[in-house]
Symmetry: C2
Subunit: 919 residues, 2 copies
């Protein structure tokens, strides 16, 4: 028969730390600690398989009851107490514990086993009647709430009433008799609420609590948390039944939490807090001020709070002073645990009448700074290898190191003042403060006057680019993580919060309503691109050390310890990774930044982003409005030298590295105004009849522009555009080459769905390139390849690869078409989809490996079946997202390409992909 229950205690256990999937993190670590001889209260773990079984079959597996009862008997033996015994009762806690920590999301019941008779045994045993009755009333309250579903505040209400009656302020002022009375009141209340008595049978209590914990796996909170952290619904939780130990048995008892290193900075020092005469929940609830564990921290704390050494030592002593023996034991244990787990640990402990019990150990959560410091320190200490260190760093850790941040203290202050007015999606990491402007032109104008501004829009459009570039940050009311604002902002490394639905913008009045406040143009506002918070007024901000050294060159690397560790990590990453890492960049400036961050070329240069500046948009509009080929060619001739200049700049910035240039992609109507007013203005500007212009704008309108006349379809309709762009690229390349700089142009045809589209466009490119080279009497090597961004392209990649020299997966559009999901419109229901657990993660953020990934695999296999060495990369937004980068590695890509500020993350993820594969 299958084993469902695992015992631990008294220096041995049936489980161990490798069994997290089966026993949950808490259960596995309790077993591991028991095996290590560390004092843990005896108990047993009911495995996650029971949870899965329970959800599948709506009942427990056969034999479970017997196994549990048997385990309970063993625990009774170890602690020499008896469950339900009126003289010497065993009390237990019943706790959830999933494969990964889901703090506070699921249910816990403490003090279980107490009832009208065992309470007396507990009183006698502990020689503390008040403690026993307090435990009983706590139990009814907790059990009533968690297991029986009674609103907790109703118990609080009864408690308040009694305190009022007694004329006291604190719970602790109630004596044993008061608490006895309270228990009666509670039991009476439960009977009234539920129509049945509060259960007295300890076994009944236990099974009810186990049921409740398993059920709590599917409460709303837990589901939401799983969505956020991409935890599978199928994992289930384990249940831990553990003998109670008490930190609230008087002044020789206590409870605390500790970290083996500083989780904020990573500094190698023991760090933690404890409370005397308290239960674990008291520390978490923050009712009393906790005391430091080490003397050093205690003194530091006292200094910060203007507390005299005298007062500190008497009222708030450190554990080191208060219980030196326990402290010594705790130090030994933490060192043992860190060495054993080879990572920073987060510990929970209880001291019962001077005896230390460890209740939990787990790998501690940490900031990006701490993560990097700890990883590198541990390599230096010989505790872990470089490869292990790399696996310990998450992409978001690096982001934290790179982005400017708000001063946390200042944010706390703002919160206290009620200035956190809304929360949106954190689309562009960073922290930005500025004056509100509602128009891109205003952003530009104000910035020129030296003002710092935040551009606030319902959403942004390509016309807003310069304004966005001028702004400190961008805040939008609509759009998701890959909306225009989000994509462009990340590309610019600009702080950005999008989809902040609480904003109600009135463009005419140049103001917005939010959280009942009216914020006007010129008012200060701050946006946090790491949290999505929108804060009224200013918040202090600073650029990261990494950026100061690498990009701004304003800081000497020698004085930049964070930068040095960052750089060390990147070197390790480069040593192991196999994927190339390129960047998506449209300007020499962006190219330069990306290169400083380690980009090995450009994977996507969007030519149309150059079309909006200055005279260009004028020429582009002339091109669109041209009534015949001749006029269209004239307009294109005006654009040619400007495009060429751009390419020259980019080629130089990327000297020696390949530069993939995508030909014109967006539908032409994006370059024309749509409002009557703007059309009128343009008609005056261009000397074109208003009606003619309007009807042109109308005729270009599309029902579904995403699926419309764009990409290579433009080049098929207007081959002269492809010719002009090819000419600009090849002329630029030849000129740069002449200066002795190595140039590797790669021309990319967008939105190909049929191999003949590609052939037709490649013919034009090759013919034009040949012409230019013949004119100049010089040659340059170049490649012609295609985006794979339509399902049909992936499905027919074998045909397309007959002529295409490289593939670049455009996973933004490929996600849109594969899911049938417009990223411009999905904002309305995508959050609901995530919440309801349909998508575990936004498919525009991380590659949907099951669906989209299948299509990508087909594309790779078919492409290589025709051209076995075809170069394959990705240039969608996913190219800088860790799980996506790893997926690209696994399915055999040659490189990923991402926005400049994501390059280090891609390098790291690429290395992790290799290491994970080896494991």
């Amino acid at each position: 028969m299958k084993k469902y229950v695992y015992l631990f205690g008294n220096g041995k256990a049936e489980g161990n730390s490798s069994m997290k999937n089966l026993l949950g993190g808490k259960g596995a670590n309790l077993a591991e600690m028991a095996n290590l001889g560390i004092p843990v209260p005896p108990g047993f773990t009911i495995s996650t398989e029971v949870c899965t079984y329970y959800y599948k079959n709506k009942t427990y597996p056969e034999g479970l009851k017997d196994e549990v009862l048997n385990a309970l008997k063993n625990v009774e033996k170890m602690v020499e107490k008896k469950f339900g015994d009126e003289k010497n009762p065993l009390l237990v806690s019943v706790r959830s514990g999933a494969r990964v920590s889901m703090p506070g999301m699921m249910d816990t019941v403490l003090n279980l086993g107490i009832n009208d008779t065992t309470v007396n045994g507990l009183a006698a045993l502990t020689n503390n009647e008040r403690f026993a009755w307090d435990s009983y009333r706590r139990f009814i309250q907790m059990f009533g709430n968690v297991v029986m579903g009674i609103d907790s505040s109703k118990f609080e209400h009864i408690l308040s009433g009694l305190k009022k009656e007694k004329g006291v302020e604190y719970d602790t002022e109630l004596d044993a008799d008061d608490l006895k009375k309270l228990v009666d009141l509670y039991k009476e209340f439960v009977r009234k609420e539920k129509g049945e008595d509060f259960p007295q049978d300890p076994y009944k209590q236990m099974w009810m609590a186990i049921d409740a914990v398993f059920k709590s796996w599917d409460n709303e909170r837990a589901i939401a948390y799983r969505r956020m952290h991409q935890i599978s619904d199928d994992w289930g939780t384990a249940v831990n039944v553990v003998a109670m130990v008490y930190g609230n048995m008087g002044d020789n008892s206590g409870t605390g939490v500790a970290f083996t290193r500083d989780p904020a900075t990573g500094e190698k020092k023991f760090f933690g807090e404890f409370l005397i005469n308290a239960q674990g929940e008291d520390v978490v609830a923050g009712i009393r001020t906790p005391q430091a564990i080490t003397l050093k921290d205690s003194r530091k704390w006292a200094k910060e709070h203007n507390i005299s050494e005298e007062e500190r030592r008497t009222k708030y002593p450190s554990l080191e002073e208060y219980m030196p023996e326990v402290y010594k034991q705790l130090v030994e244990i933490y060192q043992k645990l860190e060495k054993h787990y080879r990572d920073m640990q987060d510990l929970e402990f209880t001291i019962e009448r001077g005896k230390l019990w460890m209740l939990q150990t787990r790998t501690g959560k940490r900031t990006g700074f701490a993560a990097v410091n700890i990883a590198i320190d541990m390599v230096d200490e010989g505790l872990i290898t470089e490869k292990e260190a790399l696996l310990r760093i998450e992409g978001e850790h690096l982001t934290q190191l790179m982005n400017p941040i708000f001063d946390p203290e200042d944010v706390k202050k703002a919160k206290g003042e009620g200035r956190i007015v809304a929360k949106g999606l954190p689309a562009g990491p960073g922290a930005a403060t500025g004056k509100i402007v509602f128009y891109a032109e205003d952003a530009e104008a104000w910035a020129e006057k030296g003002e710092k501004v935040i551009l606030v829009r319902d959403e942004t459009s390509p016309e807003d680019i310069k304004g966005m570039d001028s702004a400190e940050g961008i805040l939008t009311a609509r759009g998701g993580m890959t909306s225009h604002a989000a994509v462009v902002a990340r590309g610019m490394g600009k702080t950005c919060v999008v989809g902040c639905g609480a904003l109600d913008i009135d463009y005419d009045k140049k103001e917005m309503k939010v959280s009942g406040k009216v914020l006007k143009e010129g008012d200060w506002i701050s946006i946090d691109g790491n949290t999505g918070e929108v804060i009224q007024g200013k918040v202090k901000v600073k650029p990261s050390e990494v950026v100061q050294v690498m990009i701004e060159k304003t800081l000497d690397p020698e004085n930049a310890p964070v930068y040095k560790k960052f750089e060390k990590l990147m070197k390790w990453a480069d040593k192991y990774r196999k994927l190339g890492v390129r960047t998506n960049a449209d300007t020499p400036k962006d190219s330069g930044v990306a290169r400083k961050f380690g980009a090995e070329g450009i994977g996507l240069c969007r030519t149309e982003h150059m079309f909006f500046e200055g005279e260009r948009i004028q020429a582009v509009r002339e091109m669109i409005l041209a009534e015949n080929l001749e006029n269209r060619k004239k307009a294109l001739e005006k654009i040619l030298p400007m495009q060429k200049e751009d390419f020259i700049g980019i080629f130089k910035a990327m000297a020696g590295f390949p530069v993939t240039i995508r030909l014109l992609d967006p539908p032409l109507h994006e370059f024309l105004p749509h409002e009557e007013e703007d059309i009128k203005e343009l008609s005056n500007e261009m000397g074109v009849d208003f009606e003619t212009l309007k009807s042109k704008v109308e005729s270009l309108k599309e029902m579904n522009p995403m699926l419309g006349h764009r990409g290579c379809r433009l080049g098929i309709s207007y081959p002269e555009i492809t010719e002009m762009q090819t000419r600009a690229i090849i002329e630029a390349a030849l000129e740069v080459k002449k200066q002795g700089i190595e140039v590797k142009p790669e021309i990319m045809i967008p939105l190909v769905g049929h191999y003949k589209e590609f052939e037709l466009q490649k013919d034009i490119v090759d013919r034009t390139a040949k012409e230019v080279m013949e004119e100049r009497g010089e040659t340059i090597d170049y490649l012609v390849g295609t985006m794979i961004e339509l399902p049909r392209a992936a499905l027919t990649a074998d045909e397309i690869a007959q002529n295409a020299e490289f593939f670049s997966f455009g996973t933004n559009d490929l996600t849109q078409t594969t899911f049938g999901l417009s990223r411009d419109d999905a904002g309305k229901f995508l959050p609901e989809y995530i919440e309801k657990g349909i998508y575990s993660v936004d498919p525009f953020v991380a590659i949907d490996q099951k669906g989209l990934g299948e299509l990508m695999k087909i594309g790779v296999e078919k492409g290589r079946s025709t051209r076995k060495d075809i170069k394959i990369g990705i240039c969608g937004e996913h190219g800088g997202e860790p799980s996506s980068v790893k997926f690209c590695h696994r399915i055999g890509f040659n490189y990923v390409s991402c926005s400049p500020y994501r390059v280090p993350i891609a390098r790291l993820s690429a290395a992790q992909a290799v290491i994970e594969e080896e494991n």
Copy 2:
């Protein structure tokens, strides 16, 4: 070495009729006739492989020249003449000949081998100097045009000049000396035009002609024709070099064409025309009135043209009278050929000085009526089997039998009067005449007054449905074969012409400009849904016999010979087919029609099509505008009884057959007005504040509605809609069942992309169905399945099939997403794509088997891997298109579903799929 040249003549040949791919149709049939002992002029065929080689390598394969010269020597031997011999010259024709006939699309050169010396030989040989010089001048003219690229009219100009000079009217009035002079003038002109002499060397002439014929495979005409008829560019053409025979050697010579049965009606009678003393081109050019071959036809013709028997016999005798021996021989040959080929043949022959030569035989093109008649007759005659008969009928043949048609005579008249004003895409087959109206409401109002109207719009929208239903036909300026107008019209069996870009509609003035004319509201117009022609004024029209018998029941089947044959054919089809055939129908009326046409259930019932009528749209709008769940439920309660009534009607009409009902699919904004004026009106009607209403309309607007908040996404956001619709379906089903009628409801969830979407919706459906059944104390079996209309659904069909009980491929949307192509917008560039040969056929018309088909196969394989007997069908527009139906059969579908009028075509195609698989 590979063989490239195939000889024929003198009763034997190296090729035969099975070698069409290699020798082209013409060459293979000439060889076959030679083998059959039928007199064909000797010659040889250069295979299509040479063409393919030529296009790939820009040169001829090694050894070809020798093979050709060798073959020519053999021909010389057979005809006992010599190529280029001044005394006894052999002249040849050089003709194209592809795998399938491409009439007039490629080049032909006759009389080749003639020059300044051989012309004399020809004169002596034929004892006819005029004939020889006339042949020479014809040759220069033809060769000059076809091979040397000189404008034909320029030769005509010289010829006219000479006739003027001579004071004569007809070519035949020029004598030998005149023609000699003409030859000199022609040669001089060629020298001037091309800077070189007209080639005198017969071998040079021959190779130049062969080059030209191969090159003509890629002329614009030929490419366009291939697009239209889905002929692969890779097939190439063969070249036939054949000894010339002359029908213009005097009154004992002649030339003609004939059909072994009537190609218009299928009647079993020999039918054809000939000219005395003429070459083949003269018959085609229609310069002289041709004479009938049989006496019977000749007399009939004379009667129709008021020509006396006397005049007929002397001036226009039949071949039967004029050359009774030749006629007898021709009759023997045609009977032999028809029996041999077992199909109606289209023949070309020449009589040279009383000797009959067959120049061509091929399977004759025929109308739908003829196709059905011939196929059935031939089965009766024991010539072919039922299966072969089925293979001989094309879908479009059936359409012709079913649709009302214009009286061809009346159309001819209109053409003569210049009333054919434009041509669009023939989207809904049929013929409709009515008065022009420009608004759907007007169509309704006018129709109620008993007027016949044609609804003319830029494009139609769902709001126009009733107007469309009221109209005789629909004509739109925009949109393609699957635009709203086209889809709905076909569903209604309504005549429809779309994408007629020549129309310039002015809604305000209620008029349109077209071809320089102004047509106003109320003017008569006729549209031909078979040809796309738009005809000013009325044209006579009549309903088909099939419809009169099957649908209108106004004609006794006994008096309907066409219907009887149609029905016979359908019975045969049903005997062999394995695919089920269902229909897409939204009303009891459509369901009834489809059932009469043989539909075995409904594959797609679009519930939202019921949402636009009368009070419903009001309730639907209330539902959309509801600010909370309660109000939304109230509005839904109003819709419930109406939906139920619809379903009751449909279930009854489809008694005993399954009915697949798709839950609400379109985005909600489709149910609201978008123009300021209309919003104002609605706000008054509904008593809703204008601004509120407007902002609701705005908030529902989407950038890409096709990829927006629609399909099951609505049901996820508003589960109450799914509940209401399920309730309506189950309540209706129970009520119909109570009446003793068998009901098989199948509930279909649209736009599923993730199995969890399906699960969530299925849970609601099952829960609601259970509720309804419990309320009523009765039960009904039903299925819940899903559309596969997103790439991700196909790619994850294994997951979806865990719960889905059937799949229905929605190939309209699946094509849109797989290609990234909006069918609302594709009209702008799709024609160019077809023209440039990117798509060989509109992917919205026929399934793109290479791309979309791959995805469909994945969907079927993955679906069946989880649920091996899952029922799989198609409900996209492709379900009634023959090649698509066959594809669905091949990849293992259970059924196809199409619009009612396509049901017979689907039945036929399904049978053909089985038979083709056996072959």
